[in-house]
């Protein structure tokens, strides 16, 4: 590989636009090239430091806040147990459900949740109630049993951060007892800045709502999303 080509590919790598094919070419050009490997490592290190200093979402403060949230989650996990679950059997056998802390005192939000559940049920009945039309009746979908939860974790994008999906989707990652759980979030009122921020880095968050399992994934229907500073 010529020096010019090496620099061309290095530029693409540092710009975040290196394709898989080009990455493979760069790898081949680096094999047994100690000096180039060292040069690449130095560039990666140097521009990583520059990025940390100039990207607000990657500042030392943002990093520390993120870590503190994870530490809190870890400590909470070791100090508390699940208090109640409306239906423990709702958790799939192959994916253990996170043991989430529920509020110890019933709060007004529970009344809101109850009301929301009633409205949701009414809507479900309205949508799936057999109609006198020529169209075939859609199959009735039995809503899965949900658990009320309040949890602290990190808001992350399943595309930008987790690389699990092709499109951006908000999820909440919870760490407990050294395990990691990811709950896909369904929420009509995601704060605008959170949508962008969770693509850059994990955002500490407090979430409340109901969790159920759908197609082997845990879904959180959120009634509250609050970024933790």
């Amino acid at each position: 590989m010529t020096e010019t080509r090496y620099h061309e590919l290095l530029g693409q790598l540092l710009d975040g636009s290196l394709s898989d094919v080009a990455a493979d070419e760069l790898r081949q050009g680096l094999e047994n090239q100690k000096e180039r490997l060292r040069d690449l490592r130095e560039h990666l290190m140097l521009w990583e430091l520059f990025d940390q200093e100039h990207t607000p979402q990657r500042s030392a403060e943002a990093f520390t806040h993120g870590l503190q949230a994870r530490l809190r989650a870890e400590r909470a996990g070791t100090e508390t147990e699940t208090e109640t679950e409306t239906d423990p059997a709702a958790a799939p056998a192959e994916i253990p459900a996170p043991r989430l802390k529920l509020p110890s005192q019933p709060g007004p939000w529970r009344w809101l949740l109850s009301s929301a559940a009633v409205v949701l049920f009414a809507l479900t009945v309205a949508v799936f109630w057999p109609r006198r039309t020529a169209q075939p009746t859609p199959p009735v979908v039995v809503p899965p049993v949900a658990r009320l939860v309040s949890l602290r974790g990190e808001a992350v994008c399943t595309h930008c951060i987790l690389s699990l999906t092709k499109q951006c989707q908000l999820a909440i990652r919870v760490h407990e007892h050294g395990h990691e759980e990811v709950l896909v979030v369904n929420c009509p009122f995601v704060p605008g800045d959170l949508k962008h921020a969770c693509c850059k880095a994990p955002v500490p968050i407090l979430a409340e709502g109901t969790v159920h399992t759908e197609n082997g994934r845990q879904l959180l229907v959120a009634t509250r999303l609050e970024v933790q500073h």
Partner: protein, 191 residues
């Protein structure tokens, strides 16, 4: 340099110790992970995992050993683990680049059992700041827009009505200038 006190009386003391370690070493650990071939988007995540592991294993920390070196050892271990988990390989640079960098680093480690000790983060940052000041203002501004505003070469090129590859070339020239300057100031390799 952070030194933990023995015994660690409570979880709060452990957290305080880890927070002190974070304050002193977070930048270096993140830079170290990136140089090991971790994808940019995953660097902070793995670095946070590094400090979480440190929190759990605080009692295992040999206090006679430099904390930064200990943390980089944990970080290296986590990065190596990423190679073993097929589903997580997206956390490493694609095309086998991550593998190559990790293997190279492992080989270096076999030659020198304590290579992680030599990562002069503070010195690097100081040199970086000085060298940026030596750049023409337009160049500094371009780099700032690339990083602070998160604009890729394509979007910068569109705004400046030039081609993306020309913009990438311009950015690379600036990076080479800065790196050359840092090399002169530090006088030795840093990775």
């Amino acid at each position: 340099m952070v030194r933990a006190t023995l015994p660690l009386p409570s979880a709060d003391a452990r957290v305080a110790t880890v927070e002190a370690l974070v304050q002193e070493h977070q930048a270096g650990v993140r830079a170290f992970l990136r140089a090991l071939g971790v994808e940019a988007a995953w660097v902070d995540d793995l670095a946070q995992e590094t400090f979480l592991v440190a929190y759990r294993k605080l009692d295992d920390w040999d206090r006679g050993r430099d904390a930064g070196q200990w943390l980089r050892g944990i970080a290296r271990h986590l990065a190596v683990n990423e190679r073993r988990k097929a589903a997580r390989r997206a956390r490493l640079l694609a095309g086998g680049l991550g593998d190559l960098l990790l293997e190279h680093s492992e080989r270096e480690r076999e030659r020198d059992p304590e290579p992680d000790a030599a990562a002069p983060t503070a010195e690097l940052l100081e040199a970086l700041h000085t060298c940026l000041q030596e750049l023409p203002e337009a160049g500094r501004d371009l780099l700032r827009r690339r990083y602070a505003d998160g604009e890729r070469a394509e979007s910068l090129a569109a705004q400046m009505e030039t081609r993306a590859d020309a913009m990438r070339q311009k950015l690379l020239r600036l990076r080479l200038l800065v790196k050359g300057c840092v090399e002169r100031k530090i006088g030795r390799s840093w990775a």
